[in-house]
Symmetry: C2
Subunit: 242 residues, 2 copies
């Protein structure tokens, strides 16, 4: 029986999402718990990886479980086996052709940045930029990310050979006190794409580039133009639509 | 020269505030940094200790520094020596008779509790109670804490011989989504007092006692009546008035 799992995690104390021998990862911890429920090695297929230190409010994955178990029991058995920095929010029976990665329609990422004084309590959850930014210019700049574009300039070098065209449906900035909250909804995201878009917006906000330069950077398809990749700790995989 | 330091810390990875041989504590870390600036063992006298796992947005302490150093340099030197879970927000020259503990007029503590689904990302910063509470009853109950009372029933047993009379100027509950934010301003607080008051409010909220019972518990001067001490991770030392 195939189950869709929805789960949240605090990325701080993991060596990223993807399973790696000898390292504590989100995938590795969940598969260890699944093995003791399913009595055999059991893979979780997620909607996609998240980078080191990145958090998830609603990651989604699918698993195939042979033993008979209710949705509620699967959820509670997993939570009792997992450490408290991962939490299974929901386990739902799905058709055998459901695929957590291939059937993604849209994803939402949120990025949090603090322009104010360094806050040790939030250091792993909000990027402590601790400098003022020109939010008005950034709000003009972020509009350029909306729509369908080749995002080569806003991804890591490794992705260059692939198809780098993606569609961004929503790109917004909200200011709450000294915190900026960026929201991006898109058809899909390339490696480091959200963090590099936020990096470009920081460059607009601190005056290194003009908001109009975002368009030029798109055109040049050159990753080296955006010098800032915002750190992983401020990023949240927030929602996935199927 | 005496300096008043204002500092914030994330209590998660400390063995409490107070210096203990061989353990990482807030006081121990600050005094280690002070020693390397002042070239000799240098004590920090804080407004008071905080328990293990408790956070501070604005803790205050005073230190005596013999070497000549500006306020700004002292702040930046300390921050460069300290790990990023403590942050010196301000260093200010004060008169030699200033005392961070004896001259406290009022203190504000904030307690955060989540009634909603377990959130792994906030587990060290908001107590994950994860059950509904009758907030209306709790708002009636919290009023009983205001004013001048003997708080013996709302403190740990060790304090019984001392004078347990304190004055609470403000006691309020605010609901933000599924999170309850308790604020207490008082002349001073006994050991575990905020966490036991929150524990009593939880007992009101889950129906174990009536809101009117708070008064009876005060009268009995018996610590054993409040069965819940809310965990340290939800507590913040927020503000100190001199």
């Amino acid at each position: 029986m195939r189950y869709m799992l929805t789960y949240s995690y605090d990325g701080t104390n993991f060596n990223g999402y993807q399973k790696q021998k000898g390292l504590r990862t989100v995938q590795g911890e969940i598969e260890k718990a699944l093995k003791s429920i399913n009595n055999k090695a059991t893979k979780i297929h997620s909607s996609g990886r998240t980078d080191a230190l990145v958090h998830a409010n609603n990651q989604v994955g699918h698993v195939d479980i042979d033993v008979k178990i209710t949705e509620y029991k699967l959820k509670s058995a997993l939570n009792s086996l997992l450490d408290d920095d991962i939490y299974i929010k929901d386990a739902k029976k799905v058709d055998d052709d459901f695929h957590a990665r291939y059937m993604v329609k849209k994803k939402e990422y949120v990025y949090k940045l603090n322009m104010g004084e360094f806050n040790p309590i939030e250091r792993n959850y909000i990027f402590q930029y601790c400098n003022n930014l020109d939010v008005t210019a950034m709000k003009k700049a972020i509009k350029f990310f909306k729509g369908t574009h080749d995002f080569t300039s806003f991804s890591s070098n490794q992705d260059r050979k692939e198809d780098n065209v993606r569609t961004i449906y929503k790109a917004s900035i909200k200011k709450e006190g000294t915190t900026l909250i960026f929201t991006f909804v898109g058809s899909g995201f390339l490696k480091y794409m959200v963090r590099i878009m936020v990096g470009a917006l920081i460059m607009v906000g601190n005056g290194k580039i003009s908001y109009k330069d975002i368009n030029k950077i798109f055109d040049k398809k050159d990753k080296s133009l955006v010098k800032i990749t915002a750190p992983g700790c401020g990023l949240y995989l927030n929602k996935i639509w199927y």
